[in-house]
């Protein structure tokens, strides 16, 4: 029995479909159930004969594809705590936090997320609960737990592997549990027992992880906080690198064009996570107004001040050298709250992208790096009707992307004031 199709005609002053640099003036999107069936100038849209479409008219506004944040940590509690402290919380508390974060992100216009690491089964369970209708969330692409070495970055989330066999076994275990991709921490990071400027896994281990993942038709993402980590994962055939800091083993910055060249040649996506540090820095500066900073905190502020300009410069050079930069917030890690992905989009303009390019990096390009560009990321025939409506025109003025008016998820208008 064919069920009745539901049509929605969504009109707006302009549409940015994320396919190029231009907007469609006086455009409209026709949605059939959960799918986009027509996009174009309003006058060209034809509602099928005999069908009725519910109309939405967004005068003075812009329709964009729902945002795709390719790097989140749903279990994050954004009060500045280290991951080491997050991981001691119970699975129940973290699952509740994840649901809260996911909802905030959806209501802010992010309709797809890639979660880059959570404790135990928390994100699997959240995804299951979303499927059951218990709680709302963006489309979730999840890794479950990241693969780390013993004591390595994010190892407290539940996987510490050594050697080829354990690496392969963990990939298979995660596949069994329902992972959409595999996250690897290829260098240390903020985890206390890890070393951010040094590599973690050896190349044979990385190769085993990546081969095994590709065998299942899934992609891999590697955390690299220093250059040697990038070289190792490039040797092993990585798909996406997060952070991508050009740092030497002694912690100094050194841009290495030969690595960028390989990133381009091997078609690897890089997610720079530029805003993340700013958020911690701002929080500490705020704190310093009332309370003296601890030595540790003062060191963080100093490092940030010194590193921020160089980071911007290095990422700008990567862009100039042709590296495909994709947008991912890394929230709710550290102090970066969810619901503010747009702040990371602004950093992409800061490193030299045009507004349309920055938006594409946060929609179709990030969708590509997440392996979901066939369903989301642009407004075109056959894609899921995930739409963001903002006041103004972010192509002219990028900060207009903060002015969220409405969000559609799979063709449904999201009630952004549903707090049940």
């Amino acid at each position: 029995m064919a069920s009745k199709k539901e049509f929605k005609l969504i009109k707006s002053s302009r549409i940015f479909d994320s396919k190029g640099n231009l907007s469609i003036e006086r455009g409209a999107v026709l949605i059939e159930d959960d799918e986009i069936v027509q996009v174009g100038p309003e006058k060209d849209i034809r509602i099928p004969e005999g069908a009725m479409a519910t109309e939405f008219n967004y005068e003075g506004k812009t329709i964009l594809p729902g945002l795709v944040d390719c790097h989140v940590h749903l279990v994050g509690i954004p009060d500045g705590r280290a991951g080491d402290e997050t991981a001691v919380e119970s699975d129940e508390v973290l699952t509740l936090q994840a649901a809260k974060n996911a909802r905030i992100h959806l209501y802010s216009g992010v309709t797809t997320i890639r979660d880059c690491g959570a404790k135990n089964k928390t994100t699997f369970m959240l995804k299951e609960a979303v499927k059951m209708g218990v709680t709302p969330a963006p489309r979730m692409i999840i890794c479950g737990r990241p693969l780390a070495i013993i004591g390595g970055h994010l190892s407290y989330f539940g996987i510490q592997a050594t050697g080829i066999d354990e690496c392969r076994a963990n990939v298979r275990q995660l596949m069994k549990e329902g992972s959409d991709f595999i996250k690897i921490t290829a260098t240390g990071g903020s985890t206390r027992t890890s070393f951010p400027f040094l590599p973690s896994f050896n190349v044979d281990e990385l190769t085993a992880i990546i081969d095994e993942t590709h065998k299942f038709g899934k992609h891999t993402v590697a955390h690299c906080a220093s250059s040697q980590g990038m070289i190792n994962v490039l040797d092993a055939g990585i798909d996406t690198i997060v952070h991508g800091y050009y740092k030497e083993p002694n912690g100094s910055y050194l841009y290495r064009p030969e690595i960028s060249e390989r990133l381009v040649k091997q078609n690897v996506y890089v997610n720079p996570t530029l805003h993340q540090g700013t958020e911690s820095y701002d929080a500490l500066i705020e704190k310093a107004k009332n309370l003296p900073l601890t030595d540790d905190e003062q060191a963080k502020v100093d490092t940030f001040k010194a590193g921020r300009d160089i980071s911007i410069e290095n990422i700008s050079r990567m862009r100039e050298d042709g590296v495909n930069l994709v947008c991912g917030s890394d929230s709710a890690w550290n102090y970066y709250k969810m619901g503010e992905f747009q702040k990371e989009i602004l950093t992409h303009v800061e490193i030299g992208m045009s507004a349309p390019e920055a938006i594409r990096s946060a929609t179709i390009e990030s969708a590509r790096s997440c392996g979901v560009d066939h369903i989301v990321g642009t407004l075109e025939l056959g894609k899921q009707a995930d739409l963001l409506v903002v006041d103004g025109d972010p192509v002219e003025n990028i900060t207009d992307i903060f002015n969220v008016v409405d969000v559609f998820q799979s063709g449904n208008l999201v009630d952004r004031n549903n707090f049940i």
Partner: protein, 435 residues
């Protein structure tokens, strides 16, 4: 009106009527002064003085009735209220159950329930949810928890994780639950809907019930016993249990026989009774809804007829208990069976059907239920020093008990709760079948 989450230290609420949970009627033209999370004064408009030199938020609910936030003495936050059995529910993971519990807690709070007593959930799900609420990471009512109900092997709700045998294990489990953070001890003294249990037969022996009750009382914790047949009620009352839940008077062979002697004993000992009438009626509603628009089926009609008579009998038995002077309070039992959290008002309405006066029924869901679960020091009435858990209603429930549905705003701990869009709030209420 501004709906800021926190606002100033001081707040004044002006309203048309006030139901304070103490008086037997609503009082005209009143005002409440809130200081931080607590009520600092209740009086007439003229009596309440603004603190000098401090910022005060004024809430002008001039046409509204204000009453204490509701206290629901019997909930199951893990549940979906979609008819599924507990045996099925328990197969879900702790993470999924905690998410569902959080959702239920919000629904309940938005509907005006500011304190609950939880009667049974899996493992540590509710203890963990409460931890998140206390830290301010989640929103929900105040919670009195049992952790898990204590059950015999295969007994009712044994699947939640606390099955014991004998006095020693019984005492050990009480200590374990208290260590985990239980505020009271729930006992399943007869079987129930649990597939491996028999609702018409007692579960624990008297020595075990006594051990549980004594051990709980030693730690100054209350006890409550699920009883769906007479023998279970008798044993529980004899063991010194503080609240009888369901309180169904049935013989082991299923015959209905109200037991005057036991009822008298319950009344004289001051045992609380939580009749859970609507959870049964909601099953009838579900039956009627599924039958609507379908060709008549003799079997269905017979089943429905039996259920309707059973409900009438239950109402009648509660009426008798009230007649004997038993203390009856509101505990919804949602989201168990078909009854969903956020609909506590239906149980209050049922208690009126059973004979409570308007004043009694309103107290049964505020001051009396607060006493019955041991939280009357802090909630249940609008009095100086109590937590500012306040329900603002568009209409006065003294005129019609169904006016409890017309929630305008909810204050919890002195702050107005951001309840969200009316579209979303409208989804909370379950409606009876048409006709």
């Amino acid at each position: 009106m501004a709906k800021e989450q926190k606002g100033s230290q001081f707040k004044i609420i002006f309203c048309n009527n006030i139901i304070d949970g103490v008086s037997d009627t609503s009082i005209k033209n009143n005002a409440i002064l809130i200081d931080g999370s607590k009520i600092s004064a209740v009086g007439s408009r003229n009596e309440i003085k603004q603190p000098m030199g401090a910022d005060v938020d004024i809430y002008n609910f001039s046409d509204s009735t204000v009453m204490p936030g509701m206290v629901d003495a019997h909930t199951h936050h893990n549940g979906f209220g979609d008819g599924r059995l507990g045996d099925e529910l328990v197969k879900l993971s702790d993470e999924i159950l905690v998410l569902n519990s959080a959702k239920n807690a919000r629904k309940s709070l938005y509907s005006g329930v500011t304190t609950i007593r939880e009667n049974g959930s899996k493992n540590k799900t509710m203890l963990e949810l409460r931890k998140s609420i206390v830290r301010g990471q989640q929103l929900g009512p105040r919670m009195m928890l049992c952790g898990r109900p204590i059950s015999i092997i295969g007994g009712h709700m044994g699947y939640f994780g606390s099955q014991v045998t004998g006095e020693i294990q019984s005492r050990a489990m009480v200590r374990q639950l208290i260590k985990e953070g239980a505020d009271y001890i729930k006992i399943t003294a007869t079987g129930g809907s649990t597939i491996t249990s028999d609702p018409l037969r007692p579960a624990f022996n008297l020595d075990e019930l006594k051990a549980i009750t004594e051990e709980a009382h030693k730690f100054n914790k209350l006890t409550a016993a699920h009883c769906t047949s007479t023998e279970g009620i008798k044993l529980s009352v004899q063991a010194g249990v503080d609240m009888i839940i369901h309180s169904v008077f049935k013989e082991a062979n299923g015959n209905n026989k109200f037991d005057n002697k036991t009822a008298e004993l319950m009344a004289s000992k001051g045992v609380y009774v939580n009749p859970t009438l609507h959870v049964f009626r909601s099953q009838i509603w579900t039956m009627q809804k599924s039958m609507a628009g379908k060709p008549e089926n003799k079997e269905d009609i017979l089943t429905l007829d039996i259920a309707k008579r059973e409900f009438e009998r239950r109402v009648n038995d509660v009426n008798k208990l009230i007649g004997f002077g038993a203390k009856v309070i509101t505990g919804s039992d949602s989201s168990w069976g078909d009854y969903q959290l956020g609909n506590t008002v239906y149980e209050v309405e049922c208690l009126e059907l059973a004979g409570l006066s308007r004043s009694q029924s309103l107290k049964s869901v505020t001051s009396d239920s607060a006493v019955s679960i041991g939280v009357d020091q802090s909630v249940g009435t609008l009095e100086k020093g109590k937590e500012a858990d306040i329900l603002v209603l568009e209409k006065n429930p003294y005129e019609d008990i169904n006016n409890l549905w017309f929630v305008q705003d909810v204050f919890w701990g002195g702050c107005i709760v951001e309840r969200g869009s009316s579209d979303s709030l409208n989804l909370i209420r379950q409606y009876p079948p048409e006709n």
